[in-house]
Structure formats: C-alpha cells, structure tokens
Symmetry: C2
Subunit: 340 residues, 2 copies
C-alpha cells in the first residue's frame, strides 16, 4: 500500500504539502502542485480512508438499516439512494436486522464507532424508538426515516400518503357501485399497512359502505397470503363484491384465488392493490393499484441526508415529507377508463 509519505519522498516535499495538494489547498505553488500531482498519478495513490476518518471524523459513508423482508420494495429504494449518494462521493453501508434489539445494537455500533456520517432507516414495523434515537441525537448525525412514524427531533421523515390514497381507492370502488369492500391487511405492525387500513376504514365510513368485521382479514404482504385471505373472505357470508389488498403481491394472490373459485375479475369480484410493482400491468386482468415511486423515495432520502450533513446540527429542522401517490386504473376494478 502506497502512503502519503511514499509520495512525499518521491516528490521531495513534506507529507503536509502532499496533503495540501490532495485537498486542493490554494496555498501551494502551482509548480509543486503539478509535480506532486504527477507523482500521485504515477503511484496510483489513494488516501487511506481509515486515516482520513480518524482525522476528519467523517467517513463519507451513510448507514442504511432495512428490514429483512420485502426485498423487492427496498431494493428499489436502495438503488434510488445509492445513485444520488454515489454521485456525491458517498458510500452506503447496509445492515438488515431481524428485531429491534439487534437493530439498536447495530445502530449504536455504527454511530459510536464512528463508522457512518448519517443514517437512513427503513423499518416499517418500528414501535418504540426512543431508545434507538437517543444515541443518534446525542451524536448529532443526520437521520432520515422512511415509512415509519417515530418522534425524532431534527430528523427527516419520508412518508407515503398511504392514507389518502387508500381512501381514494375506496372512493373509486364506491363510485363503481361497490358497497361491500373487503380489505386484506398487510400486517398489524407495518406502518404502510396500518395507514392503508386506516384509509380504508375511514373511506368506507365516509362513503357509507358496509362496515362489518367479516370484511377484514390479515395477510403478510405475500402472494400466498393474498391467495389464502381471498379464499377465506369468499367463504364468509355475505361475500364482498370487491377486495382491496394492501399491496400488489397479495392482490396477485387474490386474483389467482378468484380464478380457482371460478369468479370473474372484475365482474364477480373487483380486486385492487397497492404499490404498482412492475408485473401489476401484466396480471389478468391488469391490476388497478396505487403507484409508489420507490426510486424517488430513495432519491429524496439521499438528498435530505446530504443537505443535513453540511449543516450545523443546531440548524437542522424536524421535517416530515408526505409523498402524494397516483392511482393507476387498470381492468381489475371494473372501471371503464384506464389511466394507463
């Protein structure tokens, strides 16, 4: 490994000077700057990041915590984050933990170990994050929370407008004449799922639809659970005329279940989802859903982190950004006009 003193020796200057040209300091004579620059090139010298980190207390790396599940969902977000961050010369250190306790330990290690400059957290099933936020706040590194509601002072929280979009979906179904709309929940602990459910509940109230408990069933965001939930729902009495699945994967399972039950979608049963994953356009019938701009979400997270990185901790504000979502009308809801 070539070090700064190798360069210094070869260029017959001090390491301080090499350091200065490395950092584009203006107080270095052009002639020596060029000479040293040559040697740096020649030796293919890259400064040691650990030494830099130790000195500057900045590592140019952002920690990224994400849950173990829903790989697809998070992958897209990560790509969005990564693209923006790497353009700005920052790296991503990822970690995916199973439970909260492990998560707290990881974060604590990252932050107190000086491994990261900022943190982006996606943990939709967060519960009590007081204990989690404390080390972060104390250490004053910027934090972005994606899809979880935690009281986090001076952090940026990025939220999808699940609630209004879900309500709007109920509205749409109601407009199509449905009175008995079932909901397949994504999981009691998932933030997005809970918000979508809340929108559903308020929507059916607002549009004066049936409100019985038999219209609700809990899945876990997988196709299999959507399938099973639909079988269950259709055995109940009275049957729903429409099913609103909290995500597309479950909606896909629901469509398959309808097929097995010999029900026509949307004639016998309307089915709608949420997320607009790439195959939603290729189900039969095409799935009516809500588009979630995952990469953009990632991009926004990266932007926020970068902005706060260059800010004095005392100047950082508590931001909550709610991203409006677009309904995508296809055939599975029975609507005449498609939006795509």
């Amino acid at each position: 490994m070539t070090t700064i003193s190798d360069v210094a020796k070869k260029a017959k200057v001090s390491t301080a000077t090499v350091s200065r040209v490395l950092n584009n300091s203006d107080k270095v004579r052009p002639a020596t700057r060029d000479r040293v620059g040559e040697i740096i090139k020649e030796l293919n010298f890259v400064p040691n990041v650990n030494a830099l980190g130790l000195q500057r207390k900045k590592t140019k790396t952002i920690g990224l915590i994400f849950p173990d599940a829903s790989a697809y969902y998070f992958a897209e977000i990560i790509q969005g984050i990564n693209r923006h961050l790497s353009q700005n010369d920052h790296q991503i250190l990822i970690s995916s933990a199973h439970d909260e306790e492990e998560e707290i330990k990881t974060i604590n290690g990252f932050v107190k170990g000086g491994r990261i400059d900022g943190l982006i957290m996606m943990m939709p099933s967060a519960s009590d994050y007081k204990g989690l936020m404390i080390p972060l706040i104390n250490n004053k590194i910027p934090v972005v929370l994606i899809a979880c509601e935690i009281d986090a002072p001076r952090a940026t929280t990025l939220l999808l407008d699940n609630y209004n979009s879900a309500k709007e979906m109920v509205h749409h179904l109601s407009d199509l004449g449905h009175k008995r709309i079932a909901f397949i929940h994504g999981g009691k602990h998932n933030y997005d799922a809970k918000e979508r459910y809340r929108g559903y509940v308020d929507g059916r109230k607002e549009f004066q639809l049936e409100e019985r408990e038999e219209l609700e069933v809990v899945g876990n965001f997988t196709e299999a659970s959507g399938y099973q939930s639909t079988i269950t729902l259709m055995q109940r009495n009275p049957r729903p005329t429409a099913i609103f699945a909290a995500n597309d994967a479950m909606a896909i399972g629901a469509i398959e279940a309808a097929r097995v039950l010999k029900l026509s979608v949307p004639l016998d049963l309307a089915i709608v989802g949420f997320d607009d994953i790439s195959s939603a356009a290729y189900t039969d019938p095409g799935l009516t859903t809500v588009h979630v701009p995952l990469r953009r979400l990632g991009h926004l997270a990266a932007e926020s982190i970068l902005k706060n990185l260059n800010m004095d901790p005392s100047e950082r504000t508590t931001e909550k950004i709610i991203i409006p979502l677009q309904q995508v009308i296809r055939k599975s809801c029975g609507s005449k006009q498609e939006s795509v």
Copy 2:
C-alpha cells in the same frame, strides 16, 4: 465520543490494558478485567473503527458491487450475503455503478483506500476484467464473482447451472411434443442470459428440433420486452408452439401477450420461464420455470469470502462453483404432472 483513554482514566489503568480487555487478551488479571469491563459498559464505549482499521488494516467490511438493473434479483442475493456476514460481525458496503469504467474506479478506490477486506462482485455483463482484477490481486483481498466468467486467479466464482437447466427445459418441452420452440433472449451482454441461450441452442440441436433464426428474439429481462417479443414472434411464419423466455418477468409478459392474441396457454402456446420469482406460482396458468436459489447464492458468497479472509493469500485457490438448479413444472408448459 468516548475514547479508550476516557475508559482508561476512569478505570485507573493504561489504555494498553483497556485495549487488552477489549480484545480478550488472556494476560490480564481477572479482577482488573472485570473492573475495566464495568467501566466500558458504563460508558457505553465502542471502539472507533477508523482507529482500528488504521491499526489492524482490517475494516470488517466487504464491498459489494452490483449492477443498476434487476433490483429484485440482486436484493435477494444481498439479503443472503448480509445475513451470513452480519452474523460473523462483518458489514457490507454497497456500490452500484453504471459502466465498467466507473466500476473499476470504484473498486480501485475501495481497495487501495483500505475501505474493504474483501469484494463480492455481481456484474453479469462483465467483458474484459483484466484491468479490473489487477489491483485486487495485487492487494490480495479475497474476491467472489457472482454470475460472471472472468479469468480471476485465486477468486471464487459462483455460477448457476444455466446451461444444463435451459437444455433440460428444452428437453421437457420436446418431450411434450414441441418441435418449434422460440427463445426470448435476455440481452446479448448478460452472462446468465447467454448461458441460458446456449443451453437452448444445444438443446434444440440435441433433440432435433427446428433451428431457424426466426425462433429467436432479444428482450431485456422486463415484462414489457417479453410482451413485445411474443407479439413479434407470433407474427412470424411459421409460428412457434412454445416460448422459452430467459427469465420469468419476460415469461409473464409473454403470457399476457398470448392472452391479448387470444391464444390459450398452454394449448395454443406453451410458455416457460427461468428464475422462479415469487409470483410465478400465481400467473395464469402457473409458470413452469427453473428455480434459482438466490439467498443461497448470497450465503455461499459470504461463506467463501469469510473463509478466504482468514487464509493466507498464498493459500487461496481458484474456485468455480456451479450451482445445480431445479426445474419447477407448473401448468404453462402443458405438462400433466406438476412438480409443485
């Protein structure tokens, strides 16, 4: 930030002693070990990773390079890698670059900057990686290559048995009576796609099927391209009786195209894919495909890295591991018996 000397001061010992208890050195008296341990706990002390890295020349982080595309595919692999690595106290630094040149620069920075201890690369469209491998070999960090064939001495290469599985799929279709099997290619530069194509070509030769060029069309691994490719194929004369798509997303697009063309799958047209993504079981009809164990792939990559990390560079061997794949028979091929 609390440092080792804060601990030392409070425990009334030298930093050397604190360091020793931190590293479980045996030459420290139990009494002092316990006392220092208490203080460490009390102060919630975590050693600074940059200082550690500078000293030990180990960062306990593994670099992970992956392409910009196919988020789903890679996300699962990453989860597999991460699970195993994090259990062994290692982190993952990710980077996804757009072109090779950028990739080489990134890798060079990671390695020469002392940022990583090992590297896992997924770049299915790698071409010439001589220039890329050189800094790695010189720096003697272990390397795992996933799904790309590069001549990389002392590296571990993890490959899917695309070739044989594709051939087997052709065999299966041939057994079902198909003579004219079309292939939707995944992209000229993608390793997996090329291997699957090779298996297809050799398979149709081996089973004496039609070999005309009109049976081939190039997609790009998306549903949309599978859809479009199928429309194209079915306009040709003579039409294929079966379509083998190089991945499931394209097969899903193909099924949709068949539907639009009012063709029954599998009666008028058999369709098979590759990957066995989670929704493949929920297409109509269920998609016959080849299961790719993504998490296992990730796990194997992590294992290899970890093994080589603890090995003298001179002892490292060049390994090529080919993972056999399992065919998954569902309805879309027209077979009577399903395997799942």
